[in-house]
Structure formats: structure tokens, C-alpha cells
Symmetry: C2
Subunit: 482 residues, 2 copies
């Protein structure tokens, strides 16, 4: 117990410093440096035990050489920030150390999951919040669920007979969508070639006419168009596909409509921004990751399904040792057989607790504030010297995509190969310097024909306008002489 | 911060009471009772925030109506116990709140995972601990990985072209094996009918001759035998399939051999018991869940693979926004593209920390002690009046399977339908009474033609001989008058 309290001292100290802007975001070292053992921090495991004192030192070192994802200037991923209530929820969850598969050993958590999923379905707009759902270990697995249940809905015999019982099935998703749809296609036996990528407009939104043309093409080849994924908040551009128009096409061709709102889902909680989800109530399934835009600690992802019972139909195998029918309580609360997992971590409690503590309006305020901040960034850089926006127009989500053009490049012809080659190297160089100086972190990537650009996202509740100002200054400071 | 410290007070108090045998294991309530709101414990979410004071009350209530899985008399699942170092590891993990996909944001954890997986591969016996692996969200997903990579090894074109690019593929696993193999077969597009169940001896171990006969049968039908799962520690009987004999057959027919050591894996750390894994070094892949027998908090499961690079080959999709090739560090440390997940929870730290604190010998002592305790139980009941063993012989793992026969049934003809029907109801009744009195918890289930019996397992480091004695007394107290 004394040990645990000493650890808590280390952790609360870490949290305090994380919120202090004078603390570095990270203290970068290369893999070989850490493997060689920094100042006695030895990662190797051995036969003999270490003292509790040494264990505390190990804990301190682990934090020291890590990355402060809760730091107000950490903008590197979609999941940032450190919510204290969410953290408390995780600490309680790990103390309770139980498993979601049965009501028997997780009565409270099972009910919390059920009630929370219902609230989420209400926000999607399904009548009375009816339907189904489950928390999964992340958005990729949630998206995988959507493909599985779509297949089960139209070709239930695949569960027993395999893919040979169905015609060649085709999935459709935007070229800007998350790679997990393609991964699911490969894993589940469709084949990645049967995941057709849809063209987008310059803002990264699916062009409905392209979807319809590609469906017709697939049908003409004699294949079966099964599933469309509409992305609500794409990873790089933050684009929202036009759900209503896609839903019309799905209805016309009798296809499953999934909405991947892993990143955008939080906007459903904002009266100001939820219109971007217009039509989501027509979806058959929705992925929504509270661990992204809503600041819930990792992992917390939900797959929500309009049709009740289909998750169990798709996945149940009725294991006798877990799901005994002759228990003394209502065994419909044993939800584990719906999952592709057996044991399942309790991801619900931290989210439930944050919802209690903030209320729906607290999440709304957080979302609105993050979108305001990204609009602030957009307004600040769109006409600023040395910046070029990757696409025009106010961001739909908090993603702001831009190039920083160092003075040495500004005179070059923008369409020349030399310019492109040089510009491609700017973001990685600035990023490397950021990490080495430890001041801030922001993501970059190429996209299609576009060379490396920065993708700024805001999901951290601790971020302020001054942090956005800092980021701009820092990019200019580090990039000016490139 | 004050709030966090108050929560820690609640949690440490909970932990203290959990280890106190006078505390109940659970305070059972039916779903409708909890939903109606016990003494003001309101599970519903609302628009408005609650006070921090109320949040602390909610935390207390959540624990109060839950199940103490760390209690020395909780024997209900394969995962039991509450290791304080492991708990500390989880608290630190949630404070660091990062993601395993890149070295960039999880440098220390990525290296810990790599070193720990290598140690585990060394224990399996692969030369120099070479190979591959990843931590996944549980044994079912780890087993799913094994099926995916087996398919990729023999039919890599399935990744792009789908199952139609391969002949009809068949998986083999024991009728006693975990249901996740069948789930994987259904999910990945093989179809559950193409998961052939193997017959076992009376101890629940696969009969190699049956495997070979079934392979020949499948080949004769023109299908392709792809994969055999050998279980090392079956869920109900704790049986270890004969790996060497199965490996011989896999070699003969050029098939993938997976060993599901989700439950048994810990025994690899015991010099006394690791012989039960004899031949495991011949496996192509191994599932091993430290969150079961080794007492690591949930979730902590590894899939280990002999061939290096095959996980990435099978799963990579090279997402540009995460796995940029032009980073400043050695990007071979960005391991996220090996996974079917994108975001991935940090499951390694608590395990690494426990290994540091206990050393390999600490795990060995824990394993040996648990197996001794189950032998103690076995010796105590095998000839005791009112007990009948489900199978004869010393348990291979900590699973002890038995019927308790109340006095009213002892005079009945054991082969009669009346006896079977009555006996089938005994374990559920005793279990219900256990839960209502909150004194202890142990699992039960039917298996094949065998009516409901108790499955006792020991993985809790806090359990003592006196707790085994207590369990026996409690079963007799509650069951005597049935």
C-alpha cells in the first residue's frame, strides 16, 4: 500500500508537470540509446526480482522517456489530452480488474455499457435509441465489426460455410477513408482488391456519382456490391462524406451503409456541428470513438448497430462454460457472445464517469471549443506569408492541413519538380527538430499527389489560443532557414 | 488533484478489504434492481454535470455493487487476483495514456514490448528468441491472428483477392478447445463448418490418430487442410494436447501448427511444469495470456510467431499518415502496421513491471503454488463422500472438475435419466446460492454428454489451502439439502 501511495505521488507530479507549458512534450532518444540504458534505466528482464525502490525508479524513468500526450502542445494524434475524471475512471477500472463477458462478474459495468450505448444511439437518431452495439478495442475493430455484420445480414450462410457460399462481395469506401476498412476486407476474406476506393472532391468528400458509377461497374462484372463506408471526419482532412446522398444510393441498390465516425463522432454532441452528420440515422451501423474527439482515455470505441440482435446472430458460438442458460439472473445481460473477443476489457466506466461529471453539455462545450480553436488557426494562417492551405474553405472538423514554405522556396515555380521535392522534405525536417527540442508535436503526411504537409488537429481540452500561436511561431522558428 | 487523491483513498480501501476474507466476494443484485437505482445509485446519464462529490459517491457505489475478482475466494474465471505491482503498472499506463502504433509516441513501451516478446519466445524455445509477435486485446484475437497468418503463409494472395483465390481451407481444433478458433473461422471467411473438431481422450486431450484420419478425410474431399490448433491448457479440463505428436502430423501434411497457450502459457515459466509444453518449439505460432495464469491485470495477451516479418506481411496497409518512411528515427520500430488494430492500448507495461518486480523465479513460484493448491483440492475430494471426479488422474493444470452429489441423490442409479436430470441442476443451484450469500464463486458448465459440473481453477496468488477448505465446506453447506 505504501508502494502504491508513493507511485501515486509520482503520477500526480507527472500530471501536474504535463499541464505546465514550461515542461517539454518529450525528451527524445533514438531506440538504440534507450536500449543501451539511459542513466541506468535498464529495460531488460531478468530471473531475479528487483526491489520496490528500484521499481519506483523504473516507473519514474518510464515516464521521463515517454511522450506527454496530455501536454497542451501535443497535437500529434487524434487522441490527445488527459482528462482527470477519465483518468480516475481508468484507475478504478484497473482496481476492479474484471471482464465484460458476463453480468455475473461485471454487473455494474454491463449495465453502464447498455445505458451508454442507448444514449449514443439516441444521439444518432435511431427511434427510441433502439438497436445494438458493443465497445471494442478500437476504431479498426469497430469498423471490422460493421463489415462482418453487413455480410451476415445479406449472406448469413457465410458464417457456417465460408466466403464460397456468397458471390464475390465488394466494399466501397473513400480514398480518404481510414485504412482499417481495407484491413478488414483483407482479414475477413474479401480481399483488399474487393475494397473499391471512391473518388473525392478537393475537400476529401466522397463524390456520390462516383459511388454509383462504381457500383454499376461492379454489378456489370457480376459481383455483388455489399457495403458502403461513409466517413464522418476523415483522418487527414477531417472531411465528412455526404451521408444522405450516399444513403439514397445504398437504398437504391440494397446495400449496407456504415458511417465511420471514429474521429467525427463527438460532433453528434454539439448542436452547432451535428448537422455535419445529417442522414446518419439512415446508417445501418456507426463507429464512434469517445477516445478521440471526446478526450476519453484510450481505449474507448463503440460500434453501434441499428438492427437489434444481429451482432449476436453474427458472432455467437454459445460457449457452455461462460454463457450457461441456467443462471439465476436474466442471462440476456450476458453480452459477451456478441463479441469477436472472449475476455473483454472494461472500457465503459471512464466514459460513463466523464459523462456524469461533464453532462452532455460539457462534451458539447469541449467539442465547440476545439472547433473554434481550429478555426482560429485557419483564420490566422490562410493568408499569412509562408503558408499554403492544402484545401480551401473553413475546416469541417478540427483538421487544418497546410504547407509551411520556408523563404528559400518561396521564389521557386510551384509546379516545378524541384519545388515539390524540396517542399516534401520540409515537414519531416521541422517535425524532427520539434521532437528533438521537445517543444510541440504535430503530424504530417503526403496524400495522393500532394507532398508532405502538416495536419493540425485539436482534441486536447487543455489547448488554448496561445498554444496555437506557439505552434505557428515554432514552425517558423524551426523552418525559417531550411 | 484533490479529487484524484480522494479517489485513491477509496481505491486503496477497496483493495484492503478485497484481501480481507471477512469481506463478501460480491453483493448480488439482479439487473432490474440495479437499473431501478440502489439507494440512490443512478446509472442514467444526463445533460447536466454532477458535482465532484457525487462522482466520488458514484465511484464508491460502482465498487460496492461489483464483484471482487481479487478476493482470495474468487475462483470463477481463469483471470483472478489483484497484483499490486500490476495495478501500479495499469495506473501508470493510464496516466501516460498513449498508443502503441508508433515509436514516436510510445518509445519506451514499444521497446518494452519488443524485449518482453523476445523473452517469451526464448521460453518457447525458438532459437535466440527470434521471431515476431504482438500484444493483442485478448486470447480470442491472438488466436484469430494465428489463423490469419497461417492463411497468409500458404495463400498470400487471399490478402488481395479474397478467399476465392484459395481452395476450400480447413482448420482443426479439439472439441475441448476454446470457442475462439471457431469464431475466427466464421469471422475470417472460412466458415465454422470448415473448423473440424477433433476427438479427445477422457482427459480432454486430442487423439493424434483422429487428427490424421480427419486430415485424410478432408484431403479426400478435395479440401485443403491448413491449420491445427493444439490447446495447452484447455478452458474446462485444463488439458494439454500432445504437441509433439501433433507437430509430426503437421510436418507430414505441411500444415501450420498453432499452440493456444492462453491459459497454460504461464507454465512455461515453471521448471517443474513446462514439460507439459513439450514440443512447443515446433509450433509456428503460440497464444499466451499473461492476464490469466500469471496474474497480470486484464488485458494482456500475446501472439508469438516463429517466422519474422510474416505479421507485417499479412496485415500491413502502409497508412501514410502514421507510418511515414521519412522520420528521423529507425522506423522499423513503428510496429503498428503489423496489427489488425490501428490505435492499440499499452498492455505491456504492467506485465513488464511485474516481471521486473518478481523476476522469472517469482512467476515460477506463483505457478507452482497454484498447481500445488489444485493438487491439494484434488487429493482432498477425489475420495471424499459426495464427490465424483469428471475425469480421473492428477490435474495437468489447476483445473479440477467435479460433481457434488447431495445426499438425496446418492442412492439413485447413476446411469438413470432421473439422476442425470437432478444432478444437472445441482451446480447451478449451489452457484446461485453462493452468489446470493456472496461467500465465494466458482464456475460450472456441462461438457458434451456430461451434465453440469464444477470447474475449479486457481490463479489467484492470494488463495491459500484454507480457502480451498472453505470452498469445499461451502459447497457442502449450500448443497447438502438439495
Amino acid at each position: 500500500m505504501q508502494f502504491l501511495l508513493e507511485l501515486v505521488g509520482i503520477l500526480t507530479n507527472y500530471v501536474r508537470k504535463t499541464f505546465d507549458r514550461s515542461t517539454k512534450v518529450l525528451d527524445f532518444h533514438h531506440p538504440h540509446q534507450l536500449l543501451e540504458g539511459m542513466e541506468g534505466f535498464n529495460l531488460e528482464l531478468s530471473d531475479q526480482p528487483e526491489s520496490l525502490e528500484q521499481i519506483l525508479v523504473d516507473c519514474r524513468d518510464t515516464l521521463k522517456y515517454g511522450v506527454r500526450t496530455g501536454h497542451p502542445r501535443f497535437f500529434n494524434q487524434l487522441s490527445t489530452g488527459l482528462d482527470i475524471i477519465g483518468l480516475a475512471g481508468e484507475w478504478l477500472t484497473s482496481t476492479a480488474n474484471t471482464n465484460m463477458f458476463t453480468y455475473e462478474i461485471a454487473p455494474v459495468f454491463v449495465l453502464m455499457e447498455q445505458l451508454t450505448l442507448k444514449k449514443m444511439r439516441e444521439m444518432i437518431g435511431w427511434p427510441s435509441g433502439e438497436g445494438d452495439g458493443i465497445f471494442s478495442p478500437g476504431g479498426a475493430i469497430s469498423n471490422m465489426y460493421s463489415v462482418m455484420i453487413a455480410r451476415y445480414k445479406y449472406f448469413p450462410e457465410v458464417k457456417t460455410k465460408g466466403m464460397s457460399a456468397a458471390p464475390r462481395l465488394v466494399l466501397f469506401t473513400s480514398e480518404h477513408s481510414h485504412y482499417s476498412i481495407k484491413k478488414a476486407g483483407a482479414a475477413l476474406g474479401f480481399g483488399s482488391e474487393n475494397v473499391v476506393l471512391l473518388s473525392t472532391d478537393e475537400r476529401g468528400r466522397v463524390i456520390p456519382a462516383d459511388l454509383e458509377a462504381k457500383i454499376l461497374d461492379v454489378k456489370q462484372k457480376g459481383y455483388h456490391p455489399l457495403f458502403v463506408n461513409a466517413t464522418a471526419g476523415s483522418t487527414v482532412y477531417g472531411a465528412f462524406d455526404p451521408i444522405n446522398e450516399i444513403a439514397d444510393i445504398c437504398e437504391k441498390y440494397d446495400m449496407w451503409l456504415h458511417v465511420d465516425g471514429a474521429w467525427g463522432g463527438g460532433l453528434l454532441m454539439s448542436r452547432k456541428h451535428r448537422h455535419k452528420f445529417s442522414g446518419v440515422e439512415r446508417a445501418n451501423s456507426v463507429t464512434w470513438n469517445p477516445h478521440k474527439m471526446m478526450g476519453v482515455p484510450l481505449q474507448c470505441s463503440a460500434i453501434l448497430v441499428r438492427e437489434k440482435g444481429i451482432l449476436a446472430g453474427c458472432n455467437s458460438m454459445c460457449a457452455g462454460y461462460l454463457f450457461q442458460p441456467d443462471k439465476q439472473y436474466d442471462v440476456s445481460y450476458d453480452t459477451g457472445d456478441k463479441a469477436i473477443q472472449c475476455g473483454r476489457h472494461v472500457d465503459i466506466f471512464k466514459f460513463w464517469l466523464m459523462w456524469k461529471a461533464k453532462g452532455t453539455i460539457g462534451f458539447e462545450q469541449h467539442i465547440d471549443k476545439c472547433l473554434d480553436l481550429s478555426q482560429y488557426l485557419y483564420d490566422k494562417i490562410r493568408n499569412r506569408q509562408g503558408y499554403e492551405m492544402v484545401f480551401q474553405g473553413v475546416p469541417q472538423h478540427t483538421n487544418v492541413c497546410f504547407w509551411y514554405i520556408p523563404p528559400s522556396l518561396r521564389g521557386l515555380e510551384h509546379n516545378s519538380e524541384e519545388y515539390r521535392e524540396k517542399l516534401h522534405k520540409v515537414a519531416p525536417k521541422i517535425k524532427a527538430m520539434m521532437m528533438e527540442s521537445g517543444t510541440t508535436m504535430v503530424g504530417y503526411q503526403p496524400q495522393g499527389q500532394k507532398v508532405n504537409f502538416f495536419r493540425m488537429v485539436v482534441s486536447n481540452p487543455a489547448a488554448l489560443q496561445s498554444d496555437i500561436d506557439f505552434l505557428i511561431d515554432e514552425i517558423e522558428r524551426l523552418g525559417h532557414d531550411l
